[in-house]
Symmetry: C3
Subunit: 258 residues, 3 copies
């Protein structure tokens, strides 16, 4: 049996998350449920997508990810299941799944198409049922009619040339660290043999650390993190507060002429 993960914006003060879990366990008490987070900011699709993109591949292939972020309230929103990178994703067709991978999906179905039901709590009545079935071994094609495409939001892109990489902060984490959308892959291609300057807020850095250990308390550090993304932090401090930066703040790397 596959693991079912839960990612919601429901918080932990209500019955919503427990109701989803209870539904899954009622259908198959043997299923293992792993919480990813229930503290996605209400209706914040970018936040939910960032967390899901950062972690889904750490779970075993075949894991079923139930996503309840901004999943009620949209007009004309369908409930879908997607197979992507050999993982399964279940949620509202609200654009979030377009942000979690650059690969093409393998299959997609409308999970409220066989015996359509109206529900004011689709996360429990529709998503949880589909998740329990998938994790118990049902084929995705048995869950509903195939759909050829689904809604895809597009993330802020990085502008990269031989002289400049222009990126942005895409996540301020629990520690106040600033995670950008500048990837190590792009940097390595463009930086070869060149000196460079990383500029953000009023700071200018000419070096990216290779590990956190090189920072002293209170020092600002730049590092390519475990996601392969440039991260700005202050060791034992909150970089966002101390640097005056937030989601969407600009971070630029300029390369010297070689």
């Amino acid at each position: 049996m596959a693991i079912v993960t839960l990612l919601t914006d429901s918080g932990e003060t209500d019955h919503y998350v427990a109701a989803i879990k209870a539904k899954i366990l009622s259908l198959n008490p043997g299923l293992a449920i792993a919480d990813i987070s229930h503290k996605i900011l209400p209706c914040d699709i970018a936040h939910g997508a960032f967390v899901l993109r950062s972690v889904f591949n750490d779970f075993p292939k075949g894991t079923v990810h139930l996503v309840a972020v901004d999943s009620t309230g949209n007009s004309d929103t369908t409930s879908i299941a997607i197979q992507l990178e050999d993982h399964f994703f279940i949620g509202a067709d609200n654009g979030l799944f377009g942000l979690i991978s650059d690969k093409s999906h393998q299959q997609a179905v409308d999970i409220n198409s066989i015996s359509p039901m109206a529900s004011t709590f689709p996360e429990k009545d529709i998503f949880a049922v589909a998740a329990a079935k998938l994790a118990s071994g049902a084929a995705i094609t048995s869950l509903g009619k195939p759909i050829s495409s689904f809604k895809k939001m597009i993330g802020r892109s990085v502008k990269a040339t031989r002289k400049l990489i222009a990126g942005h902060v895409i996540r301020v984490d629990n520690f106040g660290n600033l995670i950008t959308n500048i990837s190590k892959v792009d940097f390595d291609i463009l930086s070869k043999g060149k000196n460079y300057t990383v500029a953000f807020a009023r700071e200018r850095f000419r070096k990216i650390n290779s590990n956190y250990h090189q920072a002293e308390q209170g020092d600002c550090f730049l590092i390519f993190n475990s996601l392969g993304l440039l991260e700005i932090g202050i060791y034992k401090g909150r970089a966002n507060d101390l640097l005056g930066m937030e989601l969407d703040s600009a971070v630029n790397i300029t390369f010297d002429e070689s």
Copy 2:
């Protein structure tokens, strides 16, 4: 083996919840534990009861619900186990269990009556032990001496006549939605063929939506939610803040003469 759920007001910054889980797993490492919430407001019996009432029936019959809300500190409080609607509930006899169901209980026992112990942490020393035994298959009658009744708090009641349903907000959820104690069952009986006005704060509505999808961003919506209760929300906004309403605010439905 049955599932054990946990509902506490202990928060997540201390060892209390983990100590309860550890005790259960020490007695039976094979038991499945599902968190309902640990973010009930400290000693808020109404909050705990609302969440438990809203979700317990979604779990399989036979589930054991350990409730640690306002469970230490009362004089003369006993520790009890109750069978109700084919579910088991364990906690302090502080009135909470009177709020979770309108049905009569099947059995009730004093779980600290066989070898009474004094404990400053009954949730671990008494509740967890009883929960592990029940979930492992013990009969409720083996846990302690039967009691004929237990303390029951009574919730705010709705006043319903042919001209008026007078209710109140009983829960402001994580999204700022206002859940009232006005039930669809009552409304359907009284509204037949009549026009009506729903009044709250400075708002007057003459229509209740049938699903969230009918709202546009920033719109106020009225809906009978998945619990069968009238809910007031603002799509992508916090209704409590925007309408100036809170727990206990009045919501009235008046019916036109037909």
Copy 3:
């Protein structure tokens, strides 16, 4: 198979905790994972150690405790596994493990010594791998080279004489209760047959309650709690706010001459 517990300062809004869980489950999908807390204050070793010390022994012997508190960022920090009181602990060698027990450790190894890797996310890449192996039955000695000692922080000590016990608040819990480092063991030895005065803030008490039940709403109470430590609380109130006390505030017990 042993239980794996998780204790982190990572919060619940990011992918970090889920990534650690996913790694463990990828290596052994059958392992049971129990969250202790993810709400340790960022980099607060004293907070993490207090919670771990208070609960680890409630888990079955052989449990594997993965601790990710202030675990990246220190220069020269190694990743270690320790056997102590028949439990296993995995984490950064940052001093925390010196605060969780007064007993000597049984074994200790450097878990990044066999095929050393550089990682910006050792909690996932190193700790989780070692935890999965240990919980699956591997010997601690198979995880890395033995080390003779590890870093040990030393907690604030209590000054105890025949006339005085001078202690401090070591934890303000979720309810605002003030937990001190004054132990019942010390108190019982020194108080025999004597009257005493407990002094803190502007309060003077000449009696310690034997259970919470002796307090009335709004009353200040003193009790030796389930950890065997003197605790100051206000029933249905936040003692820290109402008494103007916080972490490290002084609490003194003076004994009358007998």
